[in-house]
């Protein structure tokens, strides 16, 4: 009998704890940020958080949106999809967030977008860029402001097809992300420039830190361009390790040269490499970008990464949509997102109605030293490959969605 009473007391206590947790007033707009904090997510998280907080501070100083102040609630999805879907649910049901900000990891994003769909909450993706989010897993309550894998792969393929390079190979981790990137890149490139020679790819172990076996293999293929789905710290390690082998004397490596990676590689980064970035502050010369960069640097004493800029941009879209509909209602906002135009930090942009993908392209350039930046290289001769040239057409979109059913 004592056992039973004991357990019932525990249950009652638990219920009490749950029921008594504070509920916030409804005169605020709550933003729920599902953040991948640990491990490789840490650097992303830091700059994303900084950008979001800066936006909230600036907006609240002007009186908020629709007269309501913004508030941020953060939960750690730990790069794990099941944790992500759990916290997404918690943010929606428990914290009663009005809008959700998506995670870094594409795997988590896929889980979280479903939760947003289930509860009809508006969510946007600023870093995770799997194409599935806007194609097979699309729903009207989401939007994406980072160029997706299709735009990225297609963009660089289009750019390269105009160059004289003939021999292409690939190095990347052996899993879905790498495989799909190489597959779509090969396809696009072959279509645009039939006379290219596609050499065998070199697949590395996922999470590999030691590339010494792969580098000679790569060199044996004698390529002119090495396309790589390595990014961030992995790409940085690879480049540093490849230098003593003399890999870059003969070939250029093209991959995602985002700011964090450039900073990590520092002055070890060779000049003259052809790469691309999703949102490089130093190459986009709109007045909005310049102003934003200055404010960011003044506040945080560091330059804004691609992710910081894009999450800020996403918040600008959200703000625009709320202003347009004069409400926080998900249905109205979802409708307003169709074709919504806004003044992005990247220039005037719009959200395509069929997949809520912003027409944001990728930026391709050549690495170079720059006197303004003492610790890392940037890219010069940067060209933007516009999204409209490379994203999936509406017919293709319909076909892919049809096939998934």
């Amino acid at each position: 009998m004592k056992k039973v009473v004991f357990i019932l007391l525990v249950l009652f206590f638990a219920w009490g704890t749950i029921a008594s947790a504070p509920v916030f007033g409804q005169d605020k707009i709550k933003l729920g940020f599902i953040a991948d904090m640990p491990g490789i997510g840490a650097t992303f998280y830091k700059s994303q958080k900084e950008a979001i907080e800066m936006f909230i501070e600036e907006t609240n100083a002007k009186g908020g949106i629709l007269g309501k102040k913004l508030e941020l609630v953060i939960r750690d999805s730990q790069l794990k999809p099941d944790v992500g879907s759990n916290v997404a649910r918690e943010l929606i049901l428990n914290e009663k967030c009005d809008f959700l900000i998506g995670p870094t990891s594409s795997a988590v994003a896929l889980a979280v977008t479903k939760v947003a769909q289930e509860f009809k909450k508006i969510i946007f993706f600023h870093t995770s860029n799997t194409e599935k989010l806007t194609t097979t897993d699309f729903h009207p309550y989401m939007f994406q402001v980072v160029p997706n894998t299709g735009i990225e792969g297609g963009g660089i393929a289009l750019y390269l097809s105009k160059k004289p390079y003939k021999r292409y190979t690939f190095i990347g981790p052996d899993y879905a992300y790498g495989q799909t990137q190489w597959a779509s890149f090969k396809e696009d490139l072959k279509r645009l420039k039939p006379d290219v020679e596609i050499l065998d790819a070199v697949w590395v172990k996922v999470g590999e830190t030691n590339y010494s076996s792969y580098i000679p293999t790569l060199m044996a293929r004698n390529p002119e361009v090495i396309y790589s789905s390595l990014w961030g710290g992995g790409l940085s390690s690879f480049i540093k390790q490849a230098l003593p082998y003399g890999l870059f004397k003969k070939a250029t490596i093209t991959s995602l040269f985002d700011l964090d990676m450039l900073r990590a590689t520092g002055m070890d980064m060779p000049e003259g490499l052809l790469g691309y970035a999703r949102c490089p502050f130093y190459a986009i010369n709109t007045p909005e970008m310049k102003a934003f960069t200055k404010r960011f640097y003044d506040k945080y004493k560091e330059w804004p990464s691609d992710w910081a800029i894009m999450v800020y941009d996403g918040l600008l879209v959200l703000q625009e949509a709320i202003k347009k509909t004069q409400s926080l209602d998900s249905e109205k906002i979802a409708k307003a997102l169709d074709g919504l135009k806004w003044n992005s930090l990247r220039g005037p942009r719009y959200i395509r109605a069929e997949d809520h993908m912003a027409n944001v392209g990728i930026y391709v350039g050549i690495t170079t030293k720059d006197p303004r930046f003492k610790d890392f290289l940037i890219m010069k001769n940067v060209e933007e490959v516009p999204a409209e040239k490379v994203w999936m057409s509406v017919e293709e979109l319909k076909k892919v969605r049809q096939q998934a059913k």
């Binding site: 491990g39 840490a42 697949w203 030691n210 003593p244 003399g246």
Partner: protein, 294 residues
């Protein structure tokens, strides 16, 4: 495939194998004497690597001198941590069920790995190679990094040093006796506690050395602890616990095997250690050099 290319990959594999040997031998020794499989051995290796990183940033000029200094400081640091752990935790569980011992060291892995994350963050780090070791050597028309050669020379040196320690010194005799005749040792009046603590510290020193070597070979991140301990386990299962030569041979087998397989199909390379483990289990369950069931 040309012969010089194959030779090249062989050297690469041996380099990896050497580091694995250094770390795994520590694990094997600790088990042989203390009869405890220290899960946290991989974490100690990782701490060594991160420690090397932190210390390396203190030097304005990171040349060979500071690097060698690191080789002394880091293992000493890991030894100190190991000493602390041995005295406070491991001593309490020597007599207990294997079950609890395993769970304890497993819990330790969690605590240590998370502490590393809190202290050093999630970014990938590495230690720059000292300029004298950073170049490459022309070898059969391929550039072979000097640092790898350094490791290839250091590995056997350590193996020899270990052998000398175990078979030619009084301390070594005690350790080997503790492995084979623990009761006798106590009866002879030796302070068994010191032997055990000493062995544990030695194991930690080896983990620390491995960590320093790796920190400049490739990059380090929070995943290297688990990766290493699993490989160490494979080595120990294949080679047999308590045998230095067994550990050396199986480390090299795994290192070279992975290297060659990554040329053909990297998926096979990942699976290779498990495959060999499974094979050994079926044919000779106590390992290539081990003794039947302890």
């Amino acid at each position: 495939m040309e012969i010089n290319f194959l030779l090249f990959q062989l050297l690469n594999g041996l380099t990896e194998g050497m580091i694995l040997f250094i770390v795994a031998s520590g694990l094997s020794l600790v088990f042989g004497v203390l009869r405890v499989i220290n899960f946290a051995h991989g974490s100690l290796y990782m701490i060594g690597a991160y420690l090397a990183f932190s210390l390396s940033t203190r030097f304005p000029q990171f040349t060979l001198g500071p690097y060698l200094l690191l080789m002394i400081l880091v293992p000493a640091g890991i030894a100190a941590i190991g000493l602390l752990l041995e005295v406070t935790l491991f001593r309490r569980i020597y007599g207990k069920e294997h079950l609890l011992q395993l769970l304890l060291t497993y819990a330790l892995v969690l605590v240590l790995d998370d502490l590393v994350r809190l202290v050093w963050g999630g970014d990938i780090r590495n230690v720059p190679r000292p300029p004298s070791l950073a170049g490459s050597v022309e070898f059969l028309s391929l550039s072979f990094p000097t640092y790898n050669i350094f490791i290839l020379l250091l590995g056997p040196a350590i193996a020899l040093g270990l052998w000398w320690l175990l078979y030619r010194t009084h301390a070594g005799n005690l350790i080997r006796a503790a492995v084979t005749y623990p009761e006798m040792l106590g009866a002879l009046g030796t302070n068994v506690t010191w032997v055990m603590t000493g062995t544990f510290v030695l194991g930690c020193v080896l983990a620390g050395i491995g960590g320093v070597l790796m920190s400049a070979l490739a990059n380090i991140d929070l995943g290297i602890a688990m990766e290493k301990i699993i490989d160490c386990f494979a080595v120990v299962v294949i080679g047999g616990l308590g045998s230095v030569w067994g550990v050396l041979l199986s480390s090299l087998i795994i290192g070279v095997g992975k290297s060659y397989l990554s040329l053909i199909l990297v998926r096979l390379a990942m699976v290779f250690p498990f495959f060999v483990m499974a094979l050994v289990l079926v044919i000779r369950p106590w390992g290539l050099f081990g003794k039947p069931e302890r």
